[in-house]
Amino acid sequence: MSYVLIVGAKSDIAKATAREYAKNGYDLYLAGRNISELENLANDIRVRTQKEVELLELDILEYESHHSFYEQLEEKPLGVISAVGYLGDQEKAQSDFSEARKIMDTNYTGVVSLFNIIADDFAKRGSGFIVGISSVAGDRGRKSNYLYGSAKAGLTAYLSGLRNRLYDARVQVLTVKPGFVATRMTENMDLPEKLTAQPEAVAEDIYSAQQKGKNVVYTKWFWKYIMMIIKIIPEWKFKRMSI
């Protein structure tokens, strides 16, 4: 058993994470929509590391397909990492429910559907790791992105419960909470340079936290303290703020 499954593989964090795991000796299943677009990345990783890289078509919103997706894997993965994420358009989502729903379904429902299946298998097997990339946006709802934030909050709570359930089965569940990351998802946002991490740095943090058996990791590390402060602001004050 040598494979790690990365879903949402087309995201920049996923690409960096894929390289990080391959570099450390793992073979890869990379799953996502129109996955053939990742042929160049797969080749890149093979040339760099001489590891196996398989591309698998997966639509996180096609819940019915998730069973057969997982069944088809002849060799089951050692662990799974979800980098699925859809920021969406907050303003549009406030009045257009289809946008709101896409945000919720991508960030929460889709991941839950797939993780439920994998969790059952890992629980039976009594080994494995499940890594969910959530977000600091899930720690507290803010007007600028609370639909995305609430979906990520759901995911964070789900992962926490899953961790609790799988503890006895010795399956690790890691919640990753990135802050600002310089990716395609954020390329049109004006992010403060000092607080913005490169995807490679996030990937290193994910790998290292997973290998150390951690439960929750903020990346970069200082977000833990930023969010600690944001969480203790009383609601009567917070509701008046623009952050």
Partner: protein
């Protein structure tokens, strides 16, 4: 957005242009004027700066490796460090590497970089099989020494002024250890330093750290380090985590006295005469890469690295005059690097020629540029030249005198309309 390079001087407002596909790059080239490709920002001055810079570093896919030939195909944004990380453990090393591994392959080609083995192996262009480049007209041109000799000679060392390099195939060299057997020779003055270089010139790698604040009889004293790879099969190379200089040091932190003290300690710690050490790749080739943002020790005004080369015949007198001038000025740095180079190649703007090159750092301060002008004058009088990759100050007249093929390069740019698209602050200053 503010853009700068490794010397943190100058800092200018610029637009960083990203492209995801070749079509997108074609559009950028079509729509914009005054573009310059930008890699990892490790050239020191203004050679990769302009109001529009094209970000090449995100294009960092490895494309293929032919194990039999040792031929590696990568996109231009791949860092040399990435190549080392994956290929040293498999017994491969760069044929030519500069003193930092944190540069892109595209940048290595554009600067036609060289390293401690220049006297044996030449410049980076020696290890290039071929590359693809997008021209001023948006065409992708396959370039090799044989098929497009002019484009090859213009692009290697051409400072990004001939187009945007997309990918390249480079030859690696076989090694059987991550360790180097190093010999350190401590000399007492410039005469001894030259003699040491001559007597160790068969060693594949050599470089000297020179104390340029030493005066009188001690002028030109150095630690010459020479070496070659061991053959012990130990290849478990890992990239070390960098230590970081988290903020700019205050400008006064480095002054004549602190630098003098450092030099005294550094020189003093080496054993007298000849000594032997076993060191790893990073210690030998990339000592400064161990510290992230070491450029910040010079303070927020930034610094420059002044690097020139003098032909062998004039090297001794020229260097003596330059060292005297620097020592008198009281400006100077702990990083002064001297090296004996091999023969020049055919590329039109490549820096190396047979002779001695000295590179030294100066922090930006009042009076620096007039000192550099003075040094320029000595370099020109001794038929030397200035390295564009480091430069931030050289005048058109001084620059031209050092590079005999400059007109060929200019005409070639003009004929292919490259000058209408690709320009840096430096290319405008020196009129190329």
């Amino acid at each position: 957005m503010t853009c700068t390079a490794w010397g943190m001087y100058p800092k200018i407002e610029c637009e960083k242009l990203h492209f995801s596909t070749k079509e997108a790059l074609r559009k950028i080239i079509h729509n914009k004027q005054e573009l310059i490709p930008y890699g990892n920002g490790r050239s020191y001055g203004d050679s990769a700066l302009n109001h529009n810079i094209i970000e090449v570093k995100p294009h960092n896919y490895f494309l293929g490796f032919d194990e039999d030939k040792g031929l590696l195909h990568v996109e231009a944004g791949v860092l040399l460090s990435e190549i080392l990380e994956h290929f040293v453990p498999r017994g491969w090393f760069l044929k030519v590497t500069p003193g930092t591994k944190l540069i892109t392959v595209g940048g290595a080609i554009a600067s036609d970089v060289h390293g401690k083995n220049h006297h044996i192996a030449g410049c980076f262009s020696e290890c290039i099989a071929d590359f693809n480049i997008m021209s001023a007209e948006g065409k992708i041109i396959f370039c090799s020494r044989e098929q497009t000799p002019d484009l090859f000679k213009a692009t290697c060392g051409g400072m990004g002024l001939t187009g945007v390099i997309l990918d390249a195939r480079i030859y690696l060299k076989k090694i059987n250890s991550k360790y180097i057997d190093q010999t350190t020779i401590k000399t007492k003055n410039l005469k001894e330093t030259f003699a040491a270089f001559e007597s160790y010139k068969d060693k594949p790698y050599s470089v000297a750290w020179i104390d340029c604040l030493a005066k009188g009889d001690e002028r030109g004293r150095c630690l010459l380090m020479v070496g070659d790879f061991r053959d012990d099969g130990k290849l478990d190379y890992k990239i070390k985590k960098q230590k970081s200089i988290p903020f700019n040091f205050p400008g006064f932190a480095l002054n004549n006295w602190t630098v003098r003290a450092f030099n005294w300690l550094y020189y003093g710690k080496a054993r007298k005469g000849v000594s032997h050490q076993k060191v790893d790749i990073d210690t030998f080739f990339y000592p400064l890469d161990a510290i992230d943002h070491w450029n910040q020790i010079y303070g927020k005004k930034g610094f420059t690295q002044y690097q020139f080369i003098l032909p062998r015949e004039t090297s001794y007198e020229g260097l003596e005059e330059i060292l005297t001038t620097i020592s008198k000025s009281g400006k100077g740095s702990f990083l002064a690097v001297l090296k004996l180079y091999g023969k020049a190649n055919e590329n039109w703007l490549s820096f190396p020629m047979e002779g001695y090159s000295l590179a030294l750092d100066f922090k930006m301060e009042k009076g620096l540029f007039s000192l550099l002008d003075k040094l320029d004058e000595i370099v020109v009088r001794n038929h030397g030249r200035i390295y564009l990759t480091k430069d931030v100050n050289v005048s058109k007249e001084t620059f031209e005198k050092g590079y005999p093929h400059i007109e060929t390069f200019r005409q070639y740019r003009k004929k292919n309309k490259m000058d209408e698209k690709f320009q840096s602050l430096q290319s405008k200053r020196v009129g190329i």
